[in-house]
Amino acid sequence: MLALAAIFALRSSRKAPVVDEEEAEAPAAPIPSVRLAKVLAAFEAAKKAPAPNEAKPITVDERIAERAKGDPIAAVVPSLTGMPKATQLEMLKAMQSWPEHKFMWQVPSLARATDLPIDERIALSEELNRNLIATLEGEGVHAELPKGFTPVATREPPLSEFGEPTPAR
């Protein structure tokens, strides 16, 4: 009896563990959120960093690094790849909500810098563009530029590039 109980206990211990359903849907590890926090921290730091303003010859790598210091967008883009789609989307939308217009302008294109499938990149870019457009239209600050001239008319193209001399009367 004791042996039977021991065998039963052993078999029970070999069963697949019962996993809470809610736990099963959770991320296997909190990597995205950690990465997101790191990226956001880097982003905030980059926003505060002064723009490079030294006139000296530098290498391409140094140039990229220097740009990243003063350009949060450049700093964030390389960090997006590899993140889950939802995280990338969250990042981009968050960035677009920031008040600095110059960031808002650039965010739609960042969708292209992700490593999502091309169709999803385009769809994401279009969605972000719609956000941008809605914001701009809501502000009402953009209007057609004046030129101070309106064309008199249009005309039908001539049948001949040379025309014909008018007969003398």
Partner: protein, 393 residues
């Protein structure tokens, strides 16, 4: 009956389509050339018979809507300096293109007998159609594409026609981009594209980072134009917003500046002269008077690079002088550097072209001379002469 009905419908459609053909047409405050044969404008520093003030007026009127993608990091919309190590004016002011233009008569080829080839003999309202070309130069300091290069001389040009010398209509537009043959767009297509988007002038769309000139695909489209590759690097994105119409209605464009008329290159066998108020001309060399300013160079660079070494030459008649062989976005100076031919991939060492380590780009654009309009024309006396006699240009 059914066949008749179909035919009638087709005829109506054809008539309707024909009636819809239209070119943009603009009327100047006075004729571009004196209306009488045998006369040239009194103010004509570029020696092309056309009135200088009307050249400026026409160029200003036709100056196109010029669109960019919002992400182009080296143009008007850039929020960061594409060349942060160069100059103290970080931001778009460093990257915005410098605008120049030409307005010049066209000496037509294949004309029927009696057509006035000599510009001086143009006369208003004779039934003949006269043509001029306006070339807009969009000279960017840099191309931000892959792999990019210093200097990025882009542009577009339009041929306009007139019978009375005062009202001019756009017959054709020319849109160069990258290594393509120049794309020729009919005036009607240009009008339909712009008017469809609510516009009054021709349109030019610059592709993202590379700045090639496109005519647009449709008023409802964001695409640069027919043949845009649709990739995710260049040649696909040319606009802010969801369509050409939206971009125009929301002012997401500029009108290229028309204050710098370079005039006409001085060539054997043609009339024409550089405009010396815009171009410095010393014998053969000609380069813009605003070539080098504090905007382009920091004080230290200014000190170490003598002004005389920083020309961007617009002419090389013989096309042999290495010093004239590249457009480097105001980076010309002590060389040497490499130039990679984009068509052949051949890497060539050229002396005295661009500053190294300025933009971290090793290449430059084609020479300005390859972009300047230089087809010969005549305006000599006595009227009727074409070609002009030697020494009478």
């Amino acid at each position: 009956m059914k066949i008749l009905g179909t035919t009638t419908l087709a005829a109506v459609l054809l008539l309707g389509a024909r009636a819809a053909r239209a070119d943009f047409s603009y009327t100047l405050s006075s004729p571009l050339k004196p209306t009488a044969a045998g006369q040239c404008a009194g103010t004509d520093v570029d020696n092309d018979c056309l009135d200088d003030a009307m050249e400026t007026q026409l160029a200003g009127i036709v100056s196109p809507y010029y669109f960019w993608d919002e992400t182009d990091s080296c143009n008007y919309y850039s929020s960061t300096d594409a060349d942060t190590a160069h100059g103290s004016t970080a931001g778009y002011a460093q990257n915005v293109p410098r605008y120049y233009y030409q307005v010049r008569p066209i000496k037509k080829t294949g004309a029927p007998a009696g057509y006035p080839l000599n510009i001086r003999t143009w006369q208003a309202n004779t039934g003949w159609i006269y043509w001029v070309r306006i070339h807009y130069f969009f000279n960017y300091p840099t191309d931000c594409g892959w792999t990019g290069h210093q200097g990025d001389n882009e542009g577009t040009f339009y041929d306009l026609y007139s019978t009375d010398l005062q009202t001019w209509s756009i017959g054709s537009g020319f849109y160069p981009r990258h290594t393509d043959p120049v794309h020729v767009i009919s005036g009607t297509t240009l009008q339909q594209m712009s008017a469809g988007a609510g516009g009054y002038y021709p349109m030019v769309l610059a592709d993202d980072h590379g700045h090639g000139s496109w005519e647009g695909l449709s008023p409802q489209s964001t695409s640069c134009g027919v043949g845009a590759q649709g990739n995710l690097t260049i040649n696909y994105y040319c606009l802010v917003g969801p369509s050409l119409t939206w971009a125009r209605q929301n002012g997401q464009y500029i009108f290229p500046d028309t204050t710098k008329n370079i005039g006409e290159p001085a060539l054997n066998g043609s009339s024409g002269a550089w405009n010396t108020s815009v171009m410095n001309v010393y014998g053969n060399p000609a380069y813009p008077g605003t070539n080098v300013t504090s905007l382009e160079y920091t004080a230290s660079e200014w000190a170490t690079n003598p002004y005389a070494n920083m020309y961007e030459y617009w002419n090389d008649v013989s096309a042999t002088n290495p010093a004239y062989n590249r457009f480097c976005g105001w980076e010309c100076g002590a060389g040497p550097k490499y130039y990679v031919d984009t068509k052949t991939g051949q890497r060539t060492m050229l002396p005295k072209t661009c500053q190294a380590n300025v933009l971290n780009q090793q290449d430059c654009s084609e020479p300005m001379w390859s972009k300047v309009e230089k087809a010969p024309f005549d305006k000599c006396l006595p009227s009727g002469g074409s070609p002009c006699a030697a020494g009478s240009l």
